[in-house]
């Protein structure tokens, strides 16, 4: 294993990034903004375009979708899990801890799906609770792993978005 690489990350690049942001915090400003464009593809299907990537969204057949892809709330859960994976690996790497395996299981409970269908005015259609369990295989001691996990949760962008009630600014534009 190269001494300039840990957990599949280049330590040199990581140090350069941290060094640049420390020296000039403004240089990190572009990293504060993220975009996505989502195009309807018929039925409940849609395609999201993000930088040079794209991915589809659909609903399961139990919700009259074609079940060709995960649905939006599943992407929220996956985004949270993915964010914790990134955070855990970053925080482990910063401490020089080798991670042998990592897996995150996320389970969300919607408050009341009936509100989504307009069949109830009790509660709301959003997630009431999201449970996250992270499985890690590493030789690091328990105290270090606990610290990594704590930092991961505290610094997770998606975790913070969900737990801090982000302001959503809606707008619509119609053409005929």
């Amino acid at each position: 294993m190269s001494t300039t690489e840990l957990n599949g990350l280049s330590l040199t690049k990581l140090q350069e990034l941290v060094g640049a942001a420390t020296k000039d915090p403004e240089s990190a400003a572009p990293l504060n903004k993220w975009n996505a464009r989502v195009k309807w593809k018929g039925g409940f299907k849609s395609e999201a375009y993000v930088r040079e990537h794209s991915f589809r969204s659909d609903e399961p057949s139990t919700l009259t979708g074609a079940n060709t892809a995960p649905n939006a709330v599943e992407y929220v859960l996956s985004a949270l899990g993915g964010c914790y994976v990134v955070g855990f690996v970053l925080n482990a790497t910063k401490r020089g801890v080798k991670v042998d395996d990592l897996e995150v299981v996320v389970e969300g409970q919607l408050d009341n799906i009936l509100t989504f269908f307009g069949l109830s005015d009790k509660g709301h259609p959003g997630f009431r609770e999201i449970k996250v369990k992270l499985y890690a295989r590493t030789k690091a001691d328990k105290k270090t792993v606990d610290e990594i996990w704590k930092d991961t949760i505290a610094t997770s962008p998606v975790g913070n978005t969900l737990s801090r009630n982000v302001t959503v600014v809606p707008e619509i534009s119609v053409t005929r």
């Binding site: 395996d101 897996e103 299981v105 499985y135 295989r137």
Partner: protein, 397 residues
Amino acid sequence: MAGEAFQTSVVGSWPRPDWLLDELRRKNDGEMTYDEFSEKADEAVLLAVKYQEDAGLDFITDGEQRRDSFYSFVVDKLDGIKLMTMADLMDYIKDKSRYEQMLRARDVPAYAIRTPVVVDRITKKRSLALDELQFLRKHTKKKIKVTLPGPYMLTRASWIEPLSMKGYDSREELGKEYVKLLREEIIQLRDAGASFVQLDEPSLTEVVYGEASMQTFMCAVITSKVEPKEELTFATELINGAVQGIAGVKTGLHVCRGNWSRKEETLLSGDYGPLVKYFQQMKVDQFVLEFATPRAGSLSVLEGLSSGGKELGLGAVNPRTDAVETPEQIASRVREAMKFFDSSHICLNPDCGFATFAETPLNTPKTAYRKLLAMTTAASELRKPMEGRVLLERPPR
């Protein structure tokens, strides 16, 4: 092949010491060779043997100390097959949501479950269990039992079509390869002094009960759903191919309902009834079955099996509980079995191994030892009234 009544043995595995698990991880991470690991495991085998001898078992195993699990260890012995995690195999799993449910029920990450996958033509690097037997022979004078994964279990678990087609045109062709391999192995083990060779086929219950239960064997998830009749006929052919006509060694078949967790509700339930007609066609001497757990149902379904002269390896203690069965409880279970089998055709064993999967032992060595002791005490008590009498006596129905 029957001899003295109520012969005792473990099903196979014994809890591994923590230091051995560390060494096993190092081997699995490629930090040491199998031979280096095996040399270290010698000490753990001696410990497992000591416990079994002190408990007074008639047959001794090596506690499967050198194995990652009862079947995945074959990757150390064969080329053309490699250990892959369920995370690696995610893309090949057809029913992903069922698979996800199972992982959640077992509270395990996908990377923790490893299965051997055929990725090329299989060739032997070394014998599957001859090294285990040879070491045991140097260190015990007791009769030796060797466990091997059955041909159906191996075929079912290791056939991942997109990967395995590189070596074999079909699952059936792969099955024949395992039959040839196991047959050679059994003969080799017999010639080297094994008294009892047991084939492990736990997934047979999955074939009949898997769909009815949410929890099932991981290997079954990878493959598409199977038709029980066809599948059990296929399994019977494979098992017979491996054992038929081999004399001079007792052959056994172990069938349980899963042994990965102490949560009984995550394991399969249902009696052996649907399997009996296939058992009757199988050319093994002994069926090593669960009966300590109520999930295994009634012994009475085996009635048709005893008339064929088959032996019963009666599951007398539950490997997954802290409570140690009393000799009286065990004897009572044996008396129930005596309604259907001659005494000389009844052997005693736990329901399954004490650590089928190395990383998830189901009991401590101390409790396991106490369970074995209860079993051997029951066996010697049961033998007492028969001394000087015909052992084949069958109690009135």
